[in-house]
Symmetry: C2
Subunit: 176 residues, 2 copies
């Protein structure tokens, strides 16, 4: 969620923390805070408006002054809530892909070539990410790159061609 990052950014500033701590004790207003912290009213206003936009503080006019107050509920959450990404947003296909990859790769190496066609393709596509589109490779280059992932570069190379990921002509290979 984008707002979580925004909230964290708001809190990660010394001046804003100072302001929050003042408001934690009692409601206050721009001039007073500016005086307490020895900063310009413009600066305090800048921070307060930023926090207001994020729903961290509220304000209301009272006579001469515009009184700012805290929206305290925000601080009840544990930190964990703020750092965890909502995985619900993730595409299920992508989730499946990640799962396959983590099953068949360990420390960046392919442990075993999957037998299921679909899984095999996912794994081969992952290796193919190392190749640039619109250029050719000679056999030595291809082998070297594939070798980073698996001992048997010939097997992998052959399967990539069978899958329609790679194509060859004589000794030259390129992505389709």
């Amino acid at each position: 969620m984008k707002e979580k990052l925004e909230l964290l950014k708001l809190l990660a500033d010394e001046t804003r923390l100072d302001i929050l701590n003042i408001l934690l004790r009692e409601d206050s207003y721009v001039e007073k805070i500016s005086c307490d912290l020895s900063l310009t009213p413009a600066t305090i206003c800048y921070h307060l408006k930023k926090m207001e936009a994020a729903g961290v503080v509220n304000c209301s006019r009272s006579q001469f002054y515009i009184i700012y107050s805290l929206n305290r509920e925000i601080f009840d959450k544990p930190l964990y809530e703020l750092i965890k990404k909502d995985t619900a947003v993730i595409d299920p296909d992508e989730k499946y892909r990640k799962e396959i990859l983590s099953n068949f790769f360990k420390y960046g190496k392919l442990t075993q070539l999957p037998t299921q066609r679909k899984k095999r393709e996912i794994v081969l596509q992952e290796i193919a990410k190392q190749l640039e589109a619109n250029r050719t490779y000679d056999e030595k280059e291809i082998n070297e790159i594939i070798h980073r992932f698996h001992e048997d570069h010939c097997l992998i190379r052959r399967e990539m061609i069978a899958c329609g990921i790679l194509t060859r002509e004589k000794e030259t290979y390129w992505l389709i």
Copy 2:
């Protein structure tokens, strides 16, 4: 506490949140994370080292790789803990000073000059903060500045001299 601000700053960065979310799922290492996030190993290393220094992650070598893992306890605290300043650290003299100031100033104006010597000095020193060191002021300037705090600028000016905060020669004043 300084460390709280540091922790918040660490968490308030999109890349670092991404890294943390990866580590939340499973331990990992620089190259892999760099690949997952499409960022340079140098960049990932920079962030991991920063978080390690703050105790957010730990690392240990395992064969080729240096495996990073989360220090999960950190995230249990409620947010409130992180924003609240420990008031225990405050210097008691400073606390007294603040109290006096809040008793005798209202909305930035001096409501009454304290009779107790010590309190009076605190109050006068506060006003003197408006004056720069190592420069002189003519009487008109001094009066103008003091007037922002109190109607009777002559009284305040006289007391500042009596207190040894200000000194004069002919029509010229300066801080001691």
